[in-house]
Structures are given as structure tokens and as C-alpha cells.
């Protein structure tokens, strides 16, 4: 630091580099404060600021990098360096690396630390806290050898941690001292409804339960827990998530005032007794308390940013309303949720134990306005109700329908963002109003939610307002008469799903017929393969006969993968990665005979590169002779079902994962879909087949299989979500059948299952309702469609070789038997590869 400092600059030191610190740096950058302030921040974690609110997404689809909050202009950030002392007399801070930095202003944004109750055994190997990405990585690494895990704490963070353990495939316990889950946010009835949801996921809940000891095994490792009532449970791993404590020791050592229950005491300017020192976020004690949520922290950051720029903003408290989705259950609490602040309040409540829905609205008896409430199981009305509690929206005269379930007779229609006043807050984390967003949409011609988020900053905090932002965008665009079509291309004014339904309902069997009835022009490289895929999914004939031949991408046209030099690669199917010595020998011999480059793929197969069009039939003739078949590596279709060796050989395997993988691969081979499909089966929780990164992942348990869906590797890795646990072979296959067919029916073109799932209204719960409970009444159709696929499958290469007509296309030139003279190989590491342009001149 100092290198870029101007002589007139004063120095601001920020201690801590969490979300609130990051927000402060962003605000300062946005206000151009770097002309007057040289900003230096220290964070003790090795990563720069990241999104701690969505920490558990690390386990269900996110990644450490995906959580990072991004760079900030103009600030010097030292990560992995902790400020260990503040010398107020000399106005300096000292770090653990011995660095000393002078400050003109100091902001403490040190956050909080997890509270670990003082029980014996709490430091044993296998005990963790849940606060940082490093914590998550330690938990994940340790969990690989574990069967069961327990979370101490049934609050918001505890349930997040429980979700993480479930995602790791552990049998999960939650231990809560209070008589109900989430005691701060919900009441007894809400807690009971929440409990039933969570138990349905297989989590064992122990409420009113005090942990007295962590039982430690012979090797110093956690082996169980003992409770005050004498009960014991066996667990291999414990996560403490029993609340947080402000991290105020640095301030205390510097002689600053500390609140009775912790926290650096500051005034409404967020200033400590030392006018040069401020405190913000979870470490600050302001307006009579500490604030353990991100939104008030951001408000404090805004106050300090304003003060450093000469303003006079103040912090007078914050709205603690929250809406969360924990373990797939929506939970919200807003305003005066318990009616505690209003003696003359009355409740209107609705409780459906069967559907698992609870709504409690707290109404001020005199004014008849809603002042707070609790929602469990369905928080779809949260935005409107919380707006009423804030006073941004007036409460209708008839309150009872607001508590009734959506869709029930007499229930209020979902109240949208339309009803909100212009000054109403949409993103409470960042203080962004409806007017702000509408203005930005009009001024900057924003057309998608991502752009609105980027332009306004709305949704960059907890993200809970994004549905409202999306809805608002839709309304604004509709009002402005702007259409945002999801049309496939200029030839069809329909989405892929629309076309799928048209083709299915009208029994359309050709592109020409579809184009004539519903399209225009000749078609193009977008709609032709998309329609070809739909026709393959609905009709399942040989994909290259008749008119279909003209629709296929070159890969499908030649049943091989086009490479950059115009040659193709050949990938025979190796179901489950299981291959015989004779097949291996044949593959090697074929590669030698045709001069092909060979490589092992990521999907446990062998890829042969450098085949010319006219060589493909001869190569396939040899492969089919030893019982191999098309691997469909060229198609938007099932690729592989990867597997580990499983119980058959492995000491740890609990089921025959290879056998299941082979069964699944043979069932779904040749199934064409909006995009490629990758599956995997692991024989135990060690997950050697990496099933949680696949479209469909299966992990063996002692009792059967855990089914994961909608994972992804590749460019946008996403963790699969746990769909069902401990199911038998029959249920496993049935659920996968339906999942795949539902995806094929409804996804957009080139949309992987992960993206499709992320956009699915109702998320995992809705997917379960469709597939398990048959809520749409389409399971019979999905089952029949898959049965037809399985019955009519044929190897496309075998069918091609049997027909001289089909073989006719496999030549480079229609008027010559010469090969393409421009295809040239050179040798590298003992194998052929395409010549580079700079080498071609030398040959």
C-alpha cells in the first residue's frame, strides 16, 4: 500500500474482509472516495470476501469460486493476514505478519465467531463449526469416511449445516436446546410444521435436548453424543452451529467499550468512543443490540461510507424480516412476528398439517394493519405481506383470505409487486426501491433479470428479492409493450417445449410438416437439430432416414464427432466402464490398423481420433464384430454411466455399483435429449464415480440407493440435489425414467438438466411432486414413453452397416474415391495428431 497513495490522501484501514467489509469497499469505490482515501483492508481468511449467506450452495451445486463477491476498484486487500492489535495512541494497526499500518480512520468489520457450547469433547477430531469455506472443505473431507453426522443447533444456521451434511450423504441428526426448531423466527406451531418437513427428508430431530458430552473414541475421534436426559446417539461427525458471538476482542484490547452481551459499542453514526474508529456488521453493538444478519450490516456500511465522504447518515435499527429456503422448506418471519411489541395485537392463522403449511399474521387490533407474521411451508405471499408489515402496502379490509392457502376457495390472489408503492423497498439488503428498479429498466433498456441485478445491485445481497425483481421486470416490459420472446429461432415462434407439445399432440413426424403448419422459411442450424432431437425422442426411428437426414448436425449425420481438421472421432459404448480384454485388444488393433490417435475419456471410454469419413464404416464393422456398439458420443443423448467397482471388489462398497451402472446405461442408451446426459453410480459414500456432478447420480447406501439429480460438471459445475434416499432398484429406475422424460419434454434447446432444474418453478419439491406423487397426472405417459424407448432401441451403427443406401454418404467426394488431401498428420508422443498450419508449410 502507499504506492498509489496521493500526498493529500488520508488512509482508511478496514479490519475484516467479509460481506459487510466488501460492501463498504464497493460503496466507497462507487462514490469515488479513493481520491481522498487510501483504502487498505485486511482479512484473515485466505480467500477474499465471499457470499457467506449462501454457504450451503457450496454443497448443492455451487463452488468456492462461485461464492466470491468479486473485485473492488481502488482498495488494497490483504487476505490471509489478521490484524492483531490496534494502537490508538499512535493510530496504527499491527498484523500477525508483523506489518504495521498507520490509519486516519479505522473500520472494524470483524464479524462474529461461531459459539461452541462448553461441553466435554468439543475439541475432538470430527468436531467442526460452520462459518467459512475452509470449514466446509474440512467437513466435506472428513465426511468422506463417515456414516452419520449431527448438528448442534436447530436455528437458521443449524438447518443450513444439516442440509450440508445431507448433501454429503450422511445420516443426519439435529440437536436443539429449545423446544422447537428455529426458535427465534417461528412459534411452536410453525416449528412443528417445519419439523415434519425436515423429518420427511430423513433428518432425525432432537428438540428440548441439551448436549452434555461429545463421546470420544479410542483414537481421539468423535464416536457419539450424550444428552442431559441420558440418551446417547452414535455419530461420526459433529457440527456446532449454536449461534454466533461478535468478534470484539481486538476492540476490547484497544480499550473500546464493549456491550454487555458483546459487540463493539457504537453510536448511530457507527462511531466508537474514539472518533477515528467505526464498527459495522455483526461485530457492532448499535441501536441497543447486535445484528446477526447481512441487511443491517449493509446499512451500517452505507452509514460509514457516507460519513467518510462527509455525509451525515445514521443507523436507527433495521428490519429483521427474513425469508429463507432451508432444506427445501420455505420459512419466513417478518415484522413483529410474535406480536411481542403490541399488546393489543390479534392473530389470524391458518394451519394445514397435511400439506405442511402454516401462516400466522399478526394484526394491530386498532388499525387493522398487519404488523408481522410467520410463514412455513409456503412463503409465496411473503413479499406482499412483509410490505404490509413495513407499511409500504396497506392491509386489505378482509384479512382472513391472506392467511388461507393460495389457490383455495376464497384465498387472495397472489399479490404481486404491482400493488407496491414506488418508494417500497424491493432489495432490503441494498436499500433499492421499486422506483429505482423501474427507472433502471427504462433508462438502460434492461431485458433480463441478470442485467437488472448487475445494473441496480438489487439481489446481490441475500438474493431473496430476485423473484420480485423478475416479476417487476416482466410487468415493466409488458407495460412498455416490449415482448421478450423465447422463440427457438426466426423460423418458429415457439419455445422448444411448445414445439415438443405440438409435435406430440398433433403426432407430427417430419420437419417439413412442422414447418408448414407452424413455421416459416427453410429452417436453420438451430431449429433443425432441435426438431430432429424432438422427433427422435417422440418417434425413436432410425435418425438418418428420409427427411431427417437433412436435419442432423454433422456429428449425428456421420454418427461420429467432427474434429477441427475435418476428421472424426469414434467412441464405442463401454457400459459402466466395464470392458473385456478382447474388446481392448480389438480397439488397439483397430487404432493401429487405421492409424488413429487413442485417448481415455472422462466418461470411462476410449476415444479413437483421426478417422476420415470414408473409414468410419470399416472401423465400425470391426468394432461391432466384437460385440461393441455406438456410444452416441456424437449425439445430444445419453453418454455414459460412470461407475466405481463397487461391492464386488472394493472393501468399502455396499452395493453392486458397476452392475447398476451397466443396467442403467443399457436402459437409456440412445435416448435423445435437449442436451447430452451423463450419469454415474457410486458404490458407497466415498463417491469415487463423482455421481453428484452428473445429470443423474446414484450413490449406494446400506439400505439401497440415494438418488441425486440435476448435477453438472463442465463449464458451470453444479452439485446435484438429493432427490430420494434409501430407495430400492425398482424405485430408482422408475424415478430416473420419469426424471429424464420430464426433462426431455420440458427443457429448452441445449439446456442441461442443471439449468433446467434451476429454472423449474417450485424447485426440488415440485419435481418430487411430479415424479413421486404424480401431481400432474403424467407419470403414466412418461413411463410409457420410456418403455417405448427401451423396446425400440437399436444400435445406429449396426443399422447403418446393414444398409448400402445408408452407407452411401460415407465418402469424402461424391465424384472421387480420393481421401481429402488436406488432412495430414504428424507424430507426437508416439501417436498421430493433425498438422498445425505453421508446420504444413514445412512439409
Amino acid at each position: 500500500m502507499g504506492t498509489g497513495a496521493h500526498a493529500t490522501q488520508r488512509r482508511l484501514v478496514v479490519v475484516g474482509n467479509g460481506m459487510v467489509s466488501h460492501k463498504l469497499l464497493e460503496l466507497l469505490a462507487a462514490r469515488g472516495a479513493h481520491d481522498s482515501w487510501d483504502v487498505v483492508a485486511f482479512g484473515d481468511e485466505r480467500r477474499p470476501a465471499y457470499d457467506r449467506v449462501h454457504l450451503s450452495s457450496f454443497f448443492d451445486g455451487g463452488s468456492a469460486d462461485g461464492l466470491l463477491l468479486g473485485d473492488v476498484d481502488g482498495a488494497t486487500i490483504h487476505t490471509g493476514e489478521e490484524v492483531v492489535a490496534v494502537d490508538r495512541d499512535r493510530a496504527t494497526v499491527r498484523t500477525n505478519l508483523g506489518r504495521e499500518v498507520r490509519y486516519d480512520a479505522l473500520v472494524l468489520a470483524t464479524g462474529s465467531v461461531p459459539f461452541v457450547p462448553p461441553v466435554p469433547g468439543k475439541d475432538a477430531e470430527g468436531c467442526f463449526v460452520y462459518r467459512t469455506i475452509d470449514d466446509l472443505e474440512s467437513i466435506a473431507a472428513f465426511a468422506a469416511g463417515c456414516r452419520t453426522g449431527a448438528v448442534v443447533g436447530g436455528g437458521l444456521l443449524g438447518l443450513e449445516a444439516a442440509n450440508a451434511l445431507l448433501q454429503l450423504g450422511l445420516e443426519t441428526h439435529v440437536v436443539e436446546f429449545a423446544p422447537r426448531l428455529m426458535p427465534v423466527q417461528v412459534d411452536d406451531v410453525g416449528g412443528a410444521v417445519l419439523r415434519r418437513h425436515v423429518e420427511a427428508l430423513g433428518v432425525a430431530i432432537h428438540t428440548g435436548c441439551q448436549t452434555t458430552q461429545i463421546v470420544v473414541g479410542d483414537r481421539g475421534q468423535v464416536s457419539g453424543m450424550a444428552f442431559a436426559d441420558g440418551e446417547q446417539v452414535e455419530v461420526d461427525l459433529v457440527v456446532f452451529s449454536a449461534g454466533i458471538r461478535p468478534r470484539d476482542s481486538l476492540a476490547a484490547a484497544a480499550g473500546l467499550e464493549i456491550g454487555e452481551r458483546g459487540g463493539v459499542v457504537v453510536d448511530e453514526r457507527c462511531q466508537t468512543g474514539d472518533p477515528r474508529i467505526f464498527a459495522i456488521g455483526e461485530c457492532a453493538h448499535v441501536a441497543g443490540r447486535t445484528w446477526g444478519l447481512v441487511a443491517p450490516g449493509y446499512q451500517m456500511a452505507r452509514v460509514v461510507a457516507d460519513r467518510l465522504c462527509g455525509g451525515d447518515a445514521t443507523f436507527g435499527g433495521s428490519d429483521l424480516s427474513t425469508k429463507l429456503k432451508l432444506l427445501g422448506v420455505e420459512v419466513a418471519s417478518f415484522g413483529d412476528a410474535f406480536g411481542a411489541g403490541d399488546e393489543a395485537s390479534e392473530d389470524v392463522s391458518f394451519h394445514d398439517p397435511i400439506a405442511g403449511v402454516y401462516r400466522r399474521l399478526v394484526v394491530d387490533a386498532a388499525s387493522r394493519q398487519i404488523i408481522g407474521g410467520i410463514l412455513v411451508g409456503d412463503a409465496s405471499q411473503y413479499d406482499a405481506l412483509a410490505s404490509m408489515a413495513r407499511g409500504d402496502l396497506s392491509t386489505p379490509a378482509d384479512i382472513a383470505p391472506l392467511a388461507a392457502p393460495v389457490g383455495a376457495a376464497g384465498a387472495a390472489a397472489p399479490m404481486g409487486v404491482e400493488a407496491l408503492a414506488g418508494g417500497a423497498s424491493i432489495c432490503s439488503c441494498n436499500g433499492i426501491t421499486k422506483d429505482d428498479i423501474c427507472g433502471a429498466i427504462a433508462t438502460n433498456e434492461l431485458r433480463d433479470p441478470g442485467s437488472v441485478k448487475k445494473c441496480t445491485g438489487a439481489g446481490t445481497g441475500c438474493g431473496g428479492c430476485m423473484p420480485m425483481v423478475t416479476q417487476l421486470l416482466g410487468i415493466e416490459l409488458a407495460n412498455a409493450g416490449i415482448e421478450v420472446p423465447n422463440h427457438l429461432c426466426e423460423h418458429f415462434a415457439y419455445s422448444r417445449q411448445d414445439l415438443f407439445d405440438l409435435i406430440r399432440v398433433e403426432s407430427i413426424t417430419s420437419f417439413a410438416e412442422l414447418l408448414e403448419r407452424h413455421g416459416q422459411g427453410l429452417g436453420c442450424e438451430i431449429c433443425k437439430p432441435a426438431v430432429a432431437s424432438i422427433l427422435a425422442s417422440t418417434g425413436n426411428g432410425y435418425i438418418l432416414d428420409g427427411e431427417q437426414a437433412a436435419l442432423q448436425d454433422t456429428n449425428d449425420h456421420f454418427l461420429a464427432n467432427l474434429q477441427r481438421d475435418g476428421t472424426y472421432s469414434v467412441v464405442p459404448r463401454v457400459p459402466g466402464g466395464e470392458i473385456t480384454p478382447d474388446q481392448l485388444i480389438t480397439l488397439g488393433q483397430v487404432a493401429k490398423d487405421f492409424g488413429l490417435y487413442t485417448k481415455i475419456t472422462g466418461g470411462q471410454r476410449i476415444d479413437l481420433f483421426g478417422a476420415r469419413v470414408e473409414q468410419l464404416p470399416a472401423i465400425w464393422g470391426r468394432l461391432i464384430d466384437v460385440g461393441m456398439e455406438s456410444g452416441h458420443a456424437y449425439g445430444k443423448a445419453l453418454r455414459t454411466v460412470k461407475s466405481c467397482v463397487g461391492r464386488t471388489w472394493c472393501r468399502y462398497g455396499v452395493q453392486d455399483s458397476t452392475g447398476m451402472a451397466v443396467q442403467l446405461e443399457l436402459r437409456y442408451r440412445g435416448l435423445r435429449a435437449p442436451h447430452k446426459l451423463k450419469l454415474a453410480v457410486s458404490g458407497c459414500v466415498r463417491e469415487c464415480a463423482e455421481a453428484q456432478g452428473k445429470d443423474v447420480g446414484v450413490i449406494a447406501t446400506e439400505k439401497g440407493w440415494n438418488l441425486f439429480v440435476a448435477g453438472n460438471g463442465g463449464a458451470r459445475p453444479q452439485h446435484a440435489v438429493l432427490f430420494a434416499t434409501d430407495i430400492d432398484d425398482e424405485a430408482l429406475v422408475r424415478y430416473i425414467d420419469r426424471f429424464l422424460m420430464y426433462y426431455i419434454r420440458t427443457a429448452d434447446r441445449l439446456e442441461r438438466t442443471a439449468t433446467w432444474f434451476n429454472k423449474l418453478d417450485g424447485g426440488l419439491e415440485q419435481l418430487r411432486r411430479v415424479i413421486v406423487d404424480d401431481a400432474l397426472g403424467i407419470c403414466d405417459q412418461l413411463d410409457a414413453e420410456m418403455a417405448r424407448h427401451v423396446d425400440t432401441y437399436q444400435c445406429e451403427w449396426k443399422a447403418t452397416l446393414e444398409s448400402p443406401e445408408r452407407l452411401a454418404r460415407f465418402r469424402t467426394f461424391v465424384n472421387s474415391d480420393e481421401p481429402d488431401p488436406t488432412i495430414v498428420f504428424v507424430s507426437e508422443r508416439g501417436q498421430p495428431r493433425p498438422v498445425r498450419e505453421d508446420e504444413r508449410a514445412l512439409l
Binding site: 442450424e525 437433412a550 436435419l551 454433422t554 477441427r564 475435418g566 467426394f813 461424391v814 465424384n815 488436406t822
Partner: protein, 113 residues
């Protein structure tokens, strides 16, 4: 020297050798030409070399339309070319050579240049 018309038109293949809305590659005097057959049996031909990748593969691309223009999308990186003018729709600076093609006595013919 007098050159009769028949000497510059080269027979390539029977019309049925090309599936409607697909193409084939032909060697004409050492040059690689991609010939496409539309549904109307109109024939359009361009150079077979994809200028973006250097691979001789345009004959394996997909025929389509953009407004009134008949296009061909390269199978390598999907750039589109106007089959009548050879100009690339996705990069103004790039175009491919166009060849004359016709049907004579049920045979596809290309005019050698």
C-alpha cells in the same frame, strides 16, 4: 481457341446422390467444391474450405434461411454463409468463393473456373 459450353461444365453426380437440403463435396480440377440441393431442386455451390477453421467441411453444414437469404452454417464453429453470394453473415470481412451449378439430364454439373 473456341471452348464449347459442354467442356467447362463438369459432371459431378446424379441428382439423387444429394439429399434435399444437404450437400456433398466434389473435386473439380483439384478444387474442393460443396454443392447443395434445395427442396426445389435448385443447386447452389460454394468452396468447401471453411475459412474460419481451414478444414474442408462446408459440404457437411446445415442449409437454412435468414429472411430471404439461403444460408449454410459451418459445422465447425457455426458461422453462416449466404449460399448465393458466398458472404459470411457473421463476419463482414469474410466470404467464400461461389460456383455455378446446374442439372443437366439428371446430372449435377459444376462449371470449372
Amino acid at each position: 481457341m473456341t471452348v464449347t459450353e459442354s467442356s467447362v461444365w463438369v459432371d459431378v453426380c446424379p441428382l439423387e446422390a444429394i439429399v434435399p437440403e444437404r450437400g456433398v463435396a466434389a473435386l473439380v480440377d483439384g478444387a474442393q467444391v460443396a454443392v447443395f440441393r434445395l427442396r426445389s431442386d435448385e443447386l447452389l455451390a460454394i468452396a468447401n474450405c471453411d475459412p474460419f477453421s481451414g478444414a474442408h467441411v462446408l459440404s457437411r453444414g446445415l442449409v437454412g434461411s435468414v429472411g430471404d437469404r439461403v444460408t449454410l452454417a459451418s459445422p465447425i464453429y457455426k458461422q453462416r454463409f449466404d449460399l448465393r453470394t458466398g458472404s459470411c453473415l457473421d463476419d463482414d470481412a469474410v466470404s467464400v468463393a461461389v460456383y455455378e451449378a446446374r442439372i443437366a439430364d439428371g446430372l449435377v454439373q459444376l462449371r470449372a473456373t
